[in-house]
C-alpha cells in the first residue's frame, strides 16, 4: 500500500501540470482568435491558391487536374468547406470559421484555409514568424 501511495504522488503531479498547461493553452487560443477576420487565405500544396475578402460572398472551387476537389464558401463573414472529395470529410464537419487564426484543414488534399486580419493587427502571424 505504501509504495502505491508514493506512486500516486507523481501521477497527481503529472495531471496537475497537464491541467495548468491546458489552461494556458486555452487562454492563448482565446486571445489569439479574438478579433474578426478580414481576409480568407486558401493554400494548396503549400502555395497560396487565393486570398479573398470576407465582406463579399464567394464560392471558390478548388480544382486539381480539372477535377473538383474542394468547394469553399464565404458567406455572411463566415467561411466553410461546402464539399470535399476526401474519404473522411472532416473539413466539412469542421463548420464555419470567422475569427483571426482559425483554420480549416483538409489533410488528404493538403488544403489549409486560414482567416487573417488586416496586416496591422495580425497578432498570431507576428508571433509565429
Amino acid at each position: 500500500m505504501k509504495s502505491n501511495k508514493t506512486n500516486m504522488k507523481y501521477d497527481i503531479i503529472f495531471f496537475a501540470v497537464a491541467l495548468i498547461i491546458l489552461v494556458f493553452l486555452f487562454l492563448a487560443y482565446f486571445f489569439m482568435t479574438r478579433s474578426n477576420g478580414y481576409i480568407c487565405e486558401i493554400k494548396k500544396d503549400n502555395k497560396i491558391y487565393g486570398e479573398y475578402k470576407m465582406d463579399k460572398d464567394h464560392e471558390i472551387d478548388i480544382k486539381e487536374n480539372g477535377k473538383l476537389v474542394n468547394a469553399v464558401v464565404i458567406k455572411d463573414h463566415e467561411v466553410y468547406m461546402k464539399e470535399a472529395d476526401c474519404p473522411d470529410k472532416l473539413c466539412e464537419k469542421m463548420g464555419k470559421i470567422s475569427r483571426v487564426g482559425e483554420t480549416i484543414v483538409c489533410l488528404p488534399n493538403k488544403i489549409v484555409i486560414t482567416i487573417k486580419g488586416d496586416k496591422g493587427s495580425d497578432s498570431l502571424d507576428s508571433m509565429t514568424k
Binding site: A18, L22, L25, T33, M94, L107, T114
Partner: protein
C-alpha cells in the same frame, strides 16, 4: 527481447496483427469531434502492452510495421508521415516515464496520448508550412489525455492476465 527465436517472431507478429486489427476497428468508428488527427488511438493499446511486456525495441518494430501497413491499407502516404512522428515522440516519452518507475501505466499512457498528438501536429505544421494548425492543439491535448487514460486503464487490466498466458505458453513450449 530481440527477434531471434521462433517464439519471439510468433509473439511479435501476434501483437502486430492485434495492432493492425485495432487500426482497422478505429477506421470504422464514427468521428465525434471533427479535428484532424484526433483519434482514439486504439493501436496504442497493443503498443503500450508490448512496451510493458518487452521493451522499446520490440514496440518500435511493431509500431513502424503497423503504421506502414495500416497507412497503405486505410490511410495515405501523408498519414504515414504524421503517424510516424507522433508514434516516435510518444514512445520515447512513454519509455522514459516507464523507466523512472514513478508513474502508473494510466499516466504513462495519457502522456503518450498527448505527445502523439504533439508529434503529429508538429509534423503537419512542417509539411503544410502553416503554423496556424497549432490552434487545434488545445483540443488535441485534452483528447490525448482522455484517450490515453482509457487506453491506460484497459492496458492495466490486460497486462497481468497477458503475463500469465504468455508466461504459461513459454513454459509449455520449452
Amino acid at each position: 527481447m530481440g527477434v531471434k527465436s521462433t517464439k519471439n517472431i510468433g509473439i511479435t507478429s501476434l501483437f502486430l496483427a492485434l495492432a493492425l486489427v485495432l487500426s482497422y476497428i478505429e477506421t470504422l468508428l464514427p468521428v465525434f469531434i471533427p479535428i484532424p488527427g484526433l483519434k482514439i488511438g486504439l493501436p496504442n493499446l497493443a503498443i503500450i502492452i508490448v512496451l510493458y511486456l518487452y521493451d522499446f525495441k520490440t514496440a518500435s518494430l511493431i509500431n513502424v510495421m503497423r503504421i506502414f501497413i495500416a497507412g497503405f491499407m486505410f490511410g495515405s502516404a501523408f498519414s504515414i508521415v504524421y503517424s510516424l512522428s507522433g508514434a516516435f515522440l510518444s514512445m520515447i516519452i512513454m519509455t522514459i516515464m516507464k523507466k523512472t518507475k514513478k508513474f502508473s501505466i494510466v499516466t504513462v499512457s495519457s502522456a503518450g496520448g498527448i505527445f502523439h498528438n504533439l508529434g503529429q501536429i508538429i509534423m503537419a505544421a512542417i509539411v503544410m508550412e502553416n503554423y496556424y494548425i497549432f490552434t487545434y492543439f488545445p483540443v488535441l491535448f485534452v483528447g490525448g489525455i482522455i484517450t490515453g487514460i482509457v487506453i491506460g486503464i484497459i492496458a492495466r487490466e490486460l497486462l497481468p492476465r497477458l503475463r500469465k498466458i504468455i508466461g504459461f505458453e513459454i513454459k509449455g513450449s520449452e
